[in-house]
């Protein structure tokens, strides 16, 4: 019963993320959202399972593909839509857009469009927690492509040396824009982390909300005890790298693996629960979109604020 209640909670958040992004797809041709969007449809279970396993005061440092993390960590939906609309009452007054979502009040500490660039931020925050003797932890969320960047290696080395409470969370969708992982990486992530003395685990069932949550609970228990940890979760990006369409017709990948993933996807498989929750979730999104539509656009008075 307990698991069922948890599953229902996780499922609802995952459904909210999916329906928010489907709304973005529907709105996109109207040009009301004039910003690149990197959709996480197919990857929702990672953000939801991970964030549910965290304490409210734990921090997540994320990427340009972070609608899911923003919502899963508890960010306000109306301010998010206003931000996507480039409006004054958006999270960041329209200066951020989709790629730079943040909700520091609930622990989402900023998303960057430069791959891997927020990974050391999580290490720095975790270092501060350790210096203060705090039990809080920080999560560096990144895609598999980010692990090829030099700063990922610098971050692993430093985190291991300083024994900081950071969880390195790799969302492995196997793609960096249009490049397959096999063409990019000479290493396996868990073995690689082990060379730094950092234990890790790969979870193949990245669609499974409860499994992601459980894996994160186990990982964060170790992190909170002072053990840096790498958690790699397989997932699947249904849509194109950036934009609201699909990209199978470009022939750089086939739909086979995505179709296989969809056969496990609870938001598709559990159609009954989805249908039950959908009306209230859609109403929540309607309200957020209405808020965005009603928000004024920022202007000259805002152009040069907060530069320093």
């Amino acid at each position: 019963m307990k698991d069922e209640a948890i599953y229902r909670r996780l499922f609802r958040t995952a459904l909210l993320i999916r329906l928010v992004e489907e709304r973005i797809i529907a709105l996109y041709p109207s040009d009301k959202i004039q910003s690149p969007v990197h959709l996480s449809i197919g990857q929702e279970a990672v953000a939801v399972g991970v964030c549910d396993a965290l304490r409210a005061d734990d921090l997540v440092f994320a990427t340009y593909r972070s609608h899911g993390f923003y919502i899963a960590k508890g960010g306000q939906l109306d301010a998010m839509f206003a931000e996507l609309y480039g409006r004054k009452y958006g999270i960041s007054g329209g200066k951020a857009g989709s790629m730079h979502l943040a909700a520091p009040e609930v622990g989402l500490m900023g998303s960057s469009a430069v791959v891997a660039s927020t990974i050391p931020h999580a290490v720095g925050a975790a270092l501060s927690f350790k210096r203060r003797g705090s039990s809080r932890i920080a999560v560096a969320a990144f895609g598999d492509g980010a692990t090829e960047e030099g700063v990922y290696h610098e971050s692993l080395n430093f985190a291991a040396l300083m024994k900081v409470p950071v969880l390195f969370l790799c969302e492995d969708n196997g793609l960096a824009v249009h490049s397959h992982r096999r063409a990019r990486q000479s290493y396996g992530l868990i073995d690689h982390a082990a060379a730094y003395g950092i234990p890790g685990r790969r979870l193949e069932e990245g669609w499974d909300l409860l499994a992601v949550r459980q894996a994160t609970l186990e990982a964060t228990a170790r992190v909170r005890a002072g053990q840096t940890f790498v958690l790699e979760i397989a997932t699947s990006r249904y849509k194109e790298h950036v934009g609201v369409g699909e990209d199978f017709h470009f022939n750089y990948r086939t739909s086979v693996s995505v179709e296989a993933w969809k056969r496990q996807d609870p938001l598709i498989v559990d159609a009954k629960l989805a249908a039950e929750l959908r009306p209230e979730v859609e109403r929540e999104i309607d309200d957020a979109v209405a808020y965005a539509e009603a928000s004024p656009a920022p202007g000259r008075a805002e152009l040069l604020t907060d530069v320093i």
Binding site: S92, A96, H121, A125, N157
Partner: protein, 362 residues
């Protein structure tokens, strides 16, 4: 706008080297603010960033002052993350050239965080970088990137030119200034002694008049402020020509009104920078003056900077690569008295040799 002040006449003064002033401010910051920490390659070793952090790890512990791996980008990212949760990091690069490895974090992240998140995220921090010069520093240990950093909105760039500037500015910045600050320190200044004052007047975190004069304005940065002050003394003693020296001091946020007012008074301008003239501070000074009033100058300005090449290692080349005291004096005299000023120029061609003979206090 801060009020610019001339160096005050001190009632109680003392002599303090630039390195000792840095050490004093680092010590004070660690003592006064429990959220301040200092990290960088070698900050806890026996050389302590040329004496500017020596003994602090022992005094405050490895939790506050610590060495890091060779990870300039990672270190800067770690500093940003710590700043985002309320700590105040001070990072060091023993050569400014190494900060280029951290450009992604400095420019794409630190400079952007306040604006990009609409003021939701701030990463106040101090990045100390040291410009090398002399004794064969060569192409990669000699660069002075003030124009590079000051180009990017969101960064505040200062170049303290004296112990007084360090003592006055660092405590005003550390844990108080809202954004990331890059302080470009000059290695040649470290071992020089300066007279510092305990007076209430402070070097502001913007430009100020380092020496008042009436015949020509010299706008200078960092060690070139000292060179300008020495040159001003030389021409004053021999010709009575009076040069006004403005220490630009904050490269990102200078007091342009102060500069324009001085040039309006003198009508003549020498610009003396520690870097290349091309697309640099010298061009920015001219842009600011021209857009205010193209008729400010009585003659074209003179400019002193590094020769337009990477820095050579050989001493014979290095000595002609940088503007010398000889050239600084000549530039001031040419502005006031014309090309055929007929005044004997100082024979000193190597600034470092000059400093060996005359170590201050300045």
């Amino acid at each position: 706008m801060s009020i610019a002040v001339a160096k005050p006449l001190a009632r109680t003064s003392r002599v303090l080297s630039y390195a000792a002033a840095l050490l004093e401010t680092m010590d004070g910051a660690l003592r006064d603010h429990s959220n301040v920490f200092v990290m960088g390659q070698g900050v806890d070793d026996f050389k302590g960033i040329f004496g500017s952090t020596t003994g602090l790890a022992e005094k405050y512990g490895a939790n506050r002052v610590f060495d890091v791996p060779l990870m300039e980008e990672g270190m800067t990212g770690v500093a940003i993350g710590a700043a985002l949760v309320g700590d105040y990091p001070i990072t060091t690069h023993i050569r400014a050239d190494f900060s280029f490895l951290a450009m992604n974090q400095i420019i794409n992240l630190a400079a952007k965080y306040s604006y990009m998140f609409g003021g939701l995220m701030r990463c106040p921090m101090l990045i100390r970088i040291v410009v090398g010069r002399s004794w064969g520093q060569g192409a990669q240990h000699s660069q002075s990137p003030q124009a590079t950093f000051a180009h990017y909105p969101g960064l505040t760039v200062i170049m303290p030119s004296s112990s007084q500037a360090v003592l006055d500015m660092y405590p005003a910045i550390i844990n108080r200034y809202p954004g990331p600050v890059i302080s470009i320190e000059h290695r040649l200044l470290y071992n020089l002694d300066f007279t510092v004052s305990a007076a209430d007047t402070r070097v502001p975190v913007t430009s100020y008049v380092a020496h008042a004069g009436r015949d020509v304005t010299v706008v200078a940065t960092s060690v070139m402020v000292l060179e300008a002050l020495r040159a001003a003394q030389y021409v004053q003693d021999r010709t009575g020509v009076s040069a006004e020296i403005i220490d630009l001091n904050s490269i990102s946020h200078p007091n342009w009104d102060l500069v324009a007012d001085s040039v309006r008074k003198t009508g003549r301008l020498v610009i003396a920078d520690t870097s290349w003239l091309e697309y640099g501070m010298a061009g920015e000074v001219c842009r600011q003056l021209m857009t205010r009033d193209p008729g400010l100058l009585k003659s074209p300005p003179s400019m002193l900077g590094m020769a337009p090449a990477p820095c050579p290692t050989a001493k014979s080349l290095e000595d002609i690569y940088y503007p010398s005291q000889h050239e600084t004096v000549d530039a001031i005299l040419r502005q006031v008295k014309g090309e055929k000023h007929g005044v004997a120029l100082p024979v000193e061609r190597s600034m470092t040799e000059g400093y060996k003979r005359f170590r201050g206090p300045f």
